[in-house]
């Protein structure tokens, strides 16, 4: 079903949870020792349409709803949730959360004031999850044709469209009652190419907090299809990747996953409060070359990682993490900000009502520099040029991170030469940005495909990067 246009009325109308009832529920769950409590209501519709073998033979619709109650006392968190959204279950969840957080009796008064997010980053005419299936089928069929036409070696195309329409309401013990409607669209394409040498795959895609029409603008869907096909075919010709430390040039856009893994997670407030991050106690110190300024910005219109308010009701913001090489800030949620004596940065995020929030990234990127991408390539005698990546991971405590190239080339005497097979790159977070010796003027954000996992919770994120040169990163190929 379509949500009404006003998300603030949605939960009241649907479940009969009035502000007065919520004030009393939340207030009675707050014992004298509790510092804070909140309720997170969520109603999410997910529609998915999948093509393979040239046919759209799978379509699905998933409706989930629930409420999560959280009570904080000191460093303690009590969390309870239920998919049964009634006043009785909310009361029970809030009481359970309160008990968990160390109930010592008593209650606190809560006075709610309804607020609207102060910005509107993704107003859409309707729910993308209501896109008529024939439109989705037509788009996926066009994707299939475009990929196969790109090269006869493309033997199979798998493509999926996922539409999400999420209505949330956050009610907090300091009086905030804020709602948001969060649309999300993603097109993912995988091509399998085959010739006498073997088989290979290429993947591409994109989206954002956008309407369905975004995917068709300027034939974006066909460009994605050709990119996936091009990558699959290119990898058929790839030679073994080199092994060892060498100069690495990262292309613009999605290779920004470097920042996400190498420094982003390490700057999340929870690890730094506990002193378990390799970046703990490094605020104000030099962690990158002068050329590097890195921000996390949840306020960019229509981006996959953007939000009007985070999942604790705090407006998102633009946080400078590194300024001209100096560590300036951490990413905070309410709990960790309070315990660290810092301000929340609007980075408290959660996967769903079934999860309590944590500090998470939004859109994380490096600001543009002055070099041209050509200059950067020409400056390298022997190295690796990596333009597309699969996933990455980091050990936050030791600072070691990896990210895996899915499209990369050798650089020989200042020129990009042969494509090489995928390889994992490994480095040390607090050290890698100090080795950045050139930053391009070509900052680009990714196409809108990223999902970040932390402690079992997945949230959509964005990354971005200009072309950069790193003087020494370990490339994990097979050619020693």
């Amino acid at each position: 079903m379509a949500a009404p246009t006003k998300p603030d009325r949605f939960f009241q109308d649907r479940y009969g949870v009035s502000p007065t009832a919520l004030e009393s529920t939340l207030g009675s769950a707050l014992s004298r020792r509790a510092d804070y409590g909140d309720l997170y209501f969520e109603y999410r519709t997910t529609a998915a349409v999948t093509l393979e073998d040239g046919l759209v033979k799978k379509a699905s619709k998933d409706v989930s709803q629930g409420v999560g109650a959280r009570i904080l006392a000191g460093e303690k968190t009590g969390y309870a949730y239920s998919d049964d959204v009634t006043l009785a279950t909310i009361e029970q969840a809030a009481r359970t959360a309160g008990h968990i957080a160390g109930d010592v009796g008593g209650s606190q008064a809560v006075a709610l004031r309804a607020a609207q997010p102060t910005r509107d980053l993704y107003t859409l005419p309707g729910s993308p999850a209501e896109t008529p299936l024939p439109q989705s089928i037509a788009l996926l069929e066009a994707v299939d044709r475009a990929a196969r036409q790109h090269d006869p070696r493309v033997k199979n195309v798998m493509a999926s469209l996922v539409f999400e329409h999420k209505v949330v309401m956050i009610v907090t013990s300091d009086g905030t009652m804020v709602s948001d409607t969060q649309p999300l669209v993603r097109l993912s394409i995988t091509c399998i190419a085959e010739d006498a040498s073997g088989r290979q795959q290429g993947t591409y895609g994109g989206g954002g907090r956008q309407p369905f029409a975004f995917l068709l603008e300027g034939d974006r869907h066909l460009r994605f299809a050709r990119e996936a096909a091009r990558q699959a075919v290119l990898n058929l010709e790839a030679v073994d990747a080199p092994a060892g430390e060498m100069t690495v040039v990262l292309g613009s856009g999605w290779p920004g996953i470097l920042l996400h893994e190498a420094i982003g997670h390490g700057l999340e407030g929870d690890f730094n409060r506990k002193g378990t991050s390799a970046f703990s106690k490094l605020l104000g110190t030099k962690v990158a070359s002068d050329l590097c300024t890195v921000v996390d910005d949840g306020t960019i219109a229509n981006r996959r990682g953007s939000l009007n308010v985070d999942d604790e009701g705090t407006p998102t913001s633009r946080t400078v993490l590194i300024e001209n090489g100096v560590l300036r800030g951490y990413l905070q949620d309410r709990l960790n900000a309070r315990l660290s004596g810092m301000a929340p940065t609007g980075n408290g995020r959660r996967e769903s009502y079934a999860h309590s929030p944590m500090p998470r990234m939004t859109n994380t990127f490096m600001l543009a520099g002055e070099s041209t991408p050509d200059e950067i390539i020409r400056s390298v005698d022997r190295g690796l040029y990596a333009v597309s990546f699969g996933g990455g991971q980091v050990d936050i405590t030791s600072g070691k991170f990896v990210f895996s190239a899915s499209e990369a080339y050798l650089i020989e005497q200042g020129a990009v030469t042969r494509p090489v097979k995928g390889a994992t790159l490994i480095g040390n977070g607090p050290d890698v940005l100090t080795r950045i010796s050139m930053v391009g003027h070509d900052l680009a954000l990714d196409e809108g495909i990223g999902t970040c996992g932390k402690n079992g919770q997945s949230v959509p994120v964005g990354v971005g990067l200009p072309t950069i040169r790193i003087d020494g990163l370990t490339v994990g190929g097979t050619r020693a």
């Binding site: 969390y79 998919d83 378990t276 030791s398 390889a423």
Partner: protein, 457 residues
């Protein structure tokens, strides 16, 4: 703590399944099946001895798959009211009418359905009655034992005990109607060691379907501590080719890659490096791999699969020879084979083939003998990243571990990668450990691979 308010009784779950199937049939479905999962879980965490977090949760979700001839659609919902189920069925049938037909789609043959559901001892009544005090005590004991091992263990990401109890019910318009309960108890601890301005963390955990069988908390903590402390002072090693020993816990990840290559959907999609290799020798003669859906108390055990077929024991690799793939009904039809009873499904998704309890059979060598056999090489204790290409088997992942010289462990290693190709890696398995232990549904003993590329300094 009070529990299970709003939880449905088994007969109510079955009634919900029957009613959604009836609604779907009335709306025009020619066949349908539905799965319902109801679960309750509780978790308690401590950090540095103090209570940090407790979570109490309950949820139920129904997944529906309908067929209108050769067309199909799927839905998931938490709204189990009659009105909610009727709407869900109507919407899903309407959706199915506009998808494109695929003759391979449909329910399994009626004759293939399971006729008995053995009790695999998957459920412990303790799952229905969590004790916060007991949970906290276990978490505290694990973390306390860990931090007491060495003064350098001066910080912690905490310890957590969690438990889940679930009821799974499945019904189809073929007349199948079955259900079972399962439970899981987990205890994990992640200490942090600090020395000379550097930090290391590691992790250990215990897992069981029965609370009484869960490993002793202090033992879990002490092993987590030993794993963490041994990483202090880690350094890189030069780029080279060398023998690689995978500790049992990380060897299981190689089995997960293998499982991904033998499931039916990877075959018909052409995304498996083992496509077209049935009957070939694809691994060392030391390698026998089995999928067994009926191991008592197994984490991957179930009496019947997600389409109502009996689970069974399938030998996937026998002495290195690829004997069988794993299929659900759809992928089997696509590959002109028969289902092996390996259908699994997330509530809102269609079934696909997945391993049940999938393991590499134990060999003759002790882990100590395997390490002692290495003149100069690496014992891998942790892998990070996603650098595995399922289509080609090309493999490149970040690694941490211990360096071996003349059969002795000399120093910890980090910030390196190991690379090769899964086909070559499985062929190059030279020694198989005797230490097969199930801590999850996929397991392997310690494995020694003759040679891989290490990229380092």
């Amino acid at each position: 703590m009070s529990r299970a308010a709003g939880a449905l009784r088994p007969e109510e779950l079955r009634a919900a399944l029957q009613s959604v199937l009836d609604f779907a049939t009335r709306a025009g479905a020619t066949a349908a099946d539905a799965v319902l999962v109801q679960q309750a879980s509780f978790a308690a965490g401590v950090r540095l001895g103090e209570v940090e977090k407790m979570t109490d949760a309950r949820e139920k979700r129904l997944g529906l798959r309908v067929f209108v001839g050769e067309r199909s659609a799927l839905a998931a919902t938490a709204d189990l009211t009659r009105g909610g189920l009727a709407r869900c069925a109507d919407d899903t049938v309407a959706l199915a009418r506009v998808t494109q037909p695929d003759p391979a789609q449909g329910l399994p043959e009626r004759a293939a359905l399971a006729t008995e559901a053995p009790d695999l001892d998957l459920y412990d009544e303790a799952a229905a009655a969590p004790s916060p005090e007991d949970a906290l005590e276990r978490a505290r004991a694990a973390e306390g034992a860990a931090l007491a091992v060495d003064p350098r263990l001066s910080n912690s990401e905490g310890a957590e005990f969690s438990q889940t109890g679930a009821t799974i019910a499945y019904a189809s318009t073929l007349g199948f109607d079955g259900g079972y309960r399962s439970s899981s108890f987990d205890l994990g601890v992640q200490p942090v060691a600090v020395a000379n301005g550097h930090m290391q963390r590691d992790y250990w955990y215990a897992r069981s379907r029965h609370l009484a069988r869960l490993d002793d908390a202090a033992e879990v903590g002490r092993w987590a501590a030993a794993r963490t402390v041994r990483r202090l002072g880690a350094k890189r090693v030069p780029t080279q080719e060398a023998p690689i020993v995978f500790e049992a816990e990380v060897a299981a990840s190689l089995l997960r890659h293998l499982a991904g290559a033998v499931v039916g959907q990877s075959l018909y999609r052409g995304t498996s490096f083992l496509l077209g290799r049935l009957g070939d020798v694809v691994a060392s003669p030391l390698v026998t791999v089995v999928d067994d859906g009926r191991l008592p108390r197994g984490f991957g055990s179930r009496p019947f699969d997600a389409e109502g077929l009996a689970t069974r024991r399938t030998v996937v690799l026998q002495d290195g020879k690829l004997e069988s793939y794993l299929f659900d009904t759809y992928s089997a039809r696509r590959m002109k084979a028969a289902s092996t009873g390996n259908a699994a499904r997330a509530v809102g998704d269609s079934p696909s083939a997945a391993p049940t309890n999938f393991y590499l059979a134990a060999g003759a060598s002790s882990p100590e003998d395997i390490v002692a056999s290495v003149d100069r090489g690496l014992l891998v204790t942790e892998l990070i990243g996603f650098g595995v290409n399922p289509v080609t088997g090309d493999y490149s992942r970040g690694a941490a571990g211990l360096w071996i010289e003349h059969g002795e462990i000399t120093h910890p290693v980090e910030e390196i990668t190991i690379a090769g190709n899964l086909l070559e890696m499985f062929r190059d398995i030279e020694m198989v450990g005797s230490d097969l232990v199930f801590r999850g549904s996929v397991a392997a003993p310690t494995l020694k691979i003759r040679r891989m590329t290490i990229a380092g300094s």
